[in-house]
């Protein structure tokens, strides 16, 4: 019992401390203007946890702050996805079309799945309010995971997966959203895990995400500019490739 309490305390304190460090690093490196939503998220969650530490548990005020905080966190995390994609895509006009198509497809797919999931099975169990909230959160997480899948796939396929802040932010959210979705499924839908295990594993997933963010924000070294761009013999490549394409078109 004491061990469980200690683990809970560590899982609560580690992300709180690390997010404060990330916020300081972001301020020092003037990243707050580049990633304002992520900065807000980084401030918001430790602030909520700090408030929760002073509220009596269990109690209606604690519950209200916690669940409203969760709703705010989900909204902010959706905003972070939009911010990351804007940061990656904004400089390249032609990519905006590609990403817009992916967004539309992703949102339609996620909304459809969301509707099916909400309508297919209502909350069940002893605490209907809590079950309803968990079901709603599970649906929101599902939407988040769908969007993250689209974003991460594009980052990976477009060769943008170099170590950078947006990649770190997306990876952290990807880990947390995916694990949280699985846990919510096991808890709310399949009833495979108990509340105690759920309460331990959920912060553990969040700790993983914060560790990824810390690694990226503290580990990203400042890069030096190159003074020239390479030349090579790829012109012959180009000629041969064009010739080949013309052959295909003649078929």
């Amino acid at each position: 019992m004491r061990l469980s309490h200690a683990v809970t305390l560590v899982l609560w304190f580690v992300p709180l401390a690390l997010q404060c460090v990330i916020a300081v690093v972001m301020s020092l490196r003037r990243l707050t203007r580049r990633f304002p939503v992520f900065f807000s998220y980084t401030i918001f969650l430790p602030a909520r946890d700090a408030v929760l530490a002073y509220l009596p548990y269990p109690g209606p005020r604690y519950s209200r702050v916690y669940w409203w905080g969760e709703a705010g966190a989900v909204l902010l995390s959706l905003g972070v996805i939009a911010e990351t994609i804007r940061y990656l895509v904004a400089p390249y006009r032609f990519l905006r079309v590609v990403f817009r198509v992916f967004w539309i497809v992703g949102v339609i797919a996620a909304a459809s799945a969301l509707a099916i999931r909400v309508w297919s099975k209502g909350p069940e169990g002893s605490d209907l309010v809590l079950e309803s909230i968990i079901l709603f959160e599970r649906s929101a997480r599902f939407l988040q995971v769908c969007l993250l899948i689209a974003v991460i796939y594009l980052i990976s396929r477009l060769g943008l997966a170099w170590r950078s802040y947006p990649v770190g932010i997306t990876a952290g959210f990807g880990i947390y959203a995916a694990l949280d979705l699985a846990l919510l499924e096991f808890r709310a839908h399949l009833h495979l895990i108990t509340d105690t295990v759920f309460a331990l594993l959920r912060p553990a997933a969040y700790n993983l995400a914060v560790l990824v963010w810390t690694f990226y924000f503290l580990g990203c070294r400042s890069e030096t500019s190159v003074q020239s761009l390479p030349s090579n013999d790829m012109a012959s490549w180009n000629h041969a490739l064009t010739e080949y394409i013309h052959k295909w078109y003649r078929r």
């Binding site: 032609f94 995971v145 477009l158 761009l229 390479p230 394409i245």
Partner: protein, 178 residues
């Protein structure tokens, strides 16, 4: 049960994709020398032969169906590998372009922007081409045409040759002075 399966599939897919961006299997590029050392030499002549429709027709006419399928798959596999390496080269050029943009030289930044645009276009077109080649790998006897991906690479390469020309112009005054 269906929704559970969808959720678990989404979870696994998301975690897998996170793994791909956390370990992108791209070499570290910090300087032009890194690019020179780590770029992949892709033999365009071999690539052209691998996907040459005339070669394909010849093989189809001269080999038995099973032999044709076998050799065509081998050829397509090599072509896909070539495209993968070209994609890695493009990714490295994107990184170099990003590094060039960090500097204070506006001309270099503009060139870097062009380079990144070209490389990104190439990556987008590879996304379109590779599934076609995979389809052909699964159905080797199926004849289908490819979407255009010559233009972006053309742009990228012509940009690079422009850079080379620019370098030659830069060197000439030095020679004249000497």
């Amino acid at each position: 049960m269906v929704s559970t399966l969808i959720v678990l599939c989404a979870t696994v897919l998301a975690l897998f994709l996170v793994g791909t961006i956390l370990r992108p299997r791209l070499p570290e590029i910090r300087t032009v020398d890194d690019w020179e050392a780590k770029k992949h030499e892709v033999d365009i002549g071999a690539f052209r032969i691998l996907l040459d429709p005339a070669e394909e027709r010849y093989l189809r006419d001269s080999l038995s169906p099973s032999e044709f399928r076998f050799y065509q798959r081998q050829r397509l596999g090599l072509a896909l590998r070539s495209l993968e390496l070209v994609g890695k080269n493009a990714a490295m050029l994107i990184k170099l372009g990003q590094l060039a943009k960090l500097g204070a030289n506006p001309m270099l930044a503009k060139e870097a922007e062009d380079l990144i645009n070209g490389a990104l276009r190439l990556r987008v077109n590879l996304l379109r081409v590779q599934p076609y080649l995979w389809l052909k790998w699964f159905f080797p006897r199926w004849t289908l045409s490819l979407p255009a991906f010559a233009m972006p690479y053309e742009e990228l390469l012509s940009y690079l040759s422009r850079v080379r020309q620019q370098r030659q112009w830069d060197v000439k005054p030095d020679l004249l002075a000497a």
